[in-house]
Symmetry: C2
Subunit: 336 residues, 2 copies
């Protein structure tokens, strides 16, 4: 049985879409069990409208909710009975193997890191996000915002964790790793990035060198690594530009009569394009390197996105990828 703790109160559409996504998931994955943490009445009200095997979902009542605006370190300490803290606690106790939340990213990262603890040898866990690229390709971004003020050796570890993840979880054999830099040559970059380059060369990964930001959307490499500050800029600029592009596309198609007619013909393709560029349905971003799995679902997750995030938790746990991380950091070996 795969057991996952769910923060049913986190995210813009909680608990409604979280509960719906959870039910959709258990109806497909019969050997999974979900623990929904949140306001019992609110969660059960939604559950009452849906059909599912009630042995697969258990509701655990909590009285508090951590909001996005709260300072993570304080919220985690003070809101002991929040849906998020209680959900993480269940992973700590070993009753569940993973936790997922569409709520405060900072609170999830802080709470999971503090409460679950790092795998022996891992200096910082990394948040890994799958991002759409040109021609239907995708790439993983690590670290996508969990660690600002990284040290160069952390970045090398992000690359190791993401490489194992990409290989085991996504089936990418010997995934290529590129370091975000201002030029491709080895001597380019600031002090930090030059040192990270050296550290990356020492790891047993397929490090192919620097990647300039303009190459990132071409999925020039399978895994893009950087400090979390830069990763956060990459991730959010991606979002912002995707939104801008969609907006400009729509307004340019509304601007002339001929364009409106054109839109009617090209509608399917253009809507498909907008979906391709969206990161909304991409499920979750796992925080990896801890003694248990924590997955951040997108804040505006609806049923399908949350269901996708749960599937990712499921396979991560089923494949026991945490064990692969432990082996690498204990013995310096990649399991094949």
């Amino acid at each position: 049985m795969i057991k996952i703790a769910v923060d049913a109160m986190g995210g813009d559409n909680a608990p409604l879409e979280i509960v719906k996504g959870s039910v959709k998931f258990v109806n497909e994955y019969k050997n999974a069990k979900l623990y929904l943490f949140g306001d019992e009445t609110a969660v059960k009200n939604v559950l009452g409208t849906l059909n599912y095997n009630n042995e697969q979902i258990e509701v655990i009542h909590t009285t508090e909710i951590i909001e996005n605006e709260e300072k993570p370190t304080i919220a985690i300490k003070e809101k002991k009975d929040s849906s998020l803290v209680q959900a993480i606690k269940m992973v700590k106790s070993g009753e569940a193997s993973g936790v997922i939340s569409a709520g405060s990213t900072g609170a999830l990262l802080t709470g999971a890191t503090v409460m679950l603890g790092r795998i022996k040898g891992v200096k910082r866990p990394t948040l890994v996000t799958m991002i759409p690229a040109a021609k239907g390709k995708k790439f993983l971004l690590a670290d996508s915002g969990a660690n600002v003020d990284s040290k160069p050796e952390y970045v090398a570890q992000f690359a190791v964790l993401a490489s194992i993840y990409a290989e085991k979880m996504l089936g990418i054999k010997n995934p290529t790793v590129g370091l975000v830099n201002v030029g491709v040559e080895e001597e380019k970059g600031d002090t930090f990035t030059k040192e990270a380059f050296v550290a990356l060369k020492q790891e047993k990964i397929n490090f192919v060198g620097n990647v300039e930001a303009r190459e990132i959307p071409l999925a020039a490499v399978d895994i893009v690594v950087c400090d979390g500050f830069v990763g956060n800029v990459v991730l959010k600029l991606y979002e912002g530009l995707g939104k801008m592009f969609k907006g400009e596309l729509e307004s340019s198609l509304r601007s002339r009569v001929s364009s409106k007619i054109g839109y009617l013909f090209a509608r399917k393709s253009l809507n498909g394009l907008k979906d391709t560029l969206s990161t909304k349905d991409s499920g979750g971003a796992p925080l990896i390197g801890l003694k248990g799995l924590a997955v951040k679902a997108h804040g505006n997750s609806k049923e399908h996105a949350f269901y996708t995030g749960l599937k990712e938790c499921y396979y991560f746990i089923e494949k026991d990828i945490t064990k692969d991380f432990e082996n690498y950091f204990a013995k310096g070996e990649r399991n094949e």
Copy 2:
């Protein structure tokens, strides 16, 4: 008379498009004089096919060219008779007031900084790029790649230089300045960015706080400031994503018969959109804070883009913006 030194051999389309852009410029700006540095035969071959007042263009023969692949510090030292070094030298001597090149960014930045020298009080010059944003708006990015390993106080100076530039050159009254960060709250970010925040608050500028990368394409602020490493990532990701969007748009419109028909109707709007997202025609990026002006034109500049870059040089010199910089850093005052 406004005098500008032109590196006629720099860029993908040199000298042809550089010379054509120069001629287009002098034919419009009758009180300007251009000094074209480069291979005399090659440059005069192009000039010979064009009509212009030959008192406005002087060709100065040089025997060397600095390539993009060369290490800037070495190239500047060793290729004394390169078109770029000679052009910068003319600004140093005071015969010209500005230099423009579509060649190696690194060589221009290094050469101009070393040879022209910084304005008293300016710790680092900054490269400022104008970037298209949503709804026809634009913003300035400083630093867009000249300075990696910045100190927090440099970032505050970038903001000052860019604010004066935006006000005098672009007519934006009291331009808003935002600091690239991972969150909007003052306490967010890495150590560097938190210190930059404090330094920015002390300058006489319209600093409005942090800006997340997702807000950048909305032109949430007039001036986006950051270290040059982050700025380079922002700039290049912009380019890369713009290219990806255009590619996806084209392929999605080729994918169905109905879409092809739709494209015929919407062609004008869609081509307009592609132009909007392009940075190709945006002219040049000035390196400001030096005792003379240096402008980097886009490497793939054609006639119109180079002409636009020359116009920017022209107005910068005409408005004597360097004097405004000097005043601020000498007296801590903005000229109104």
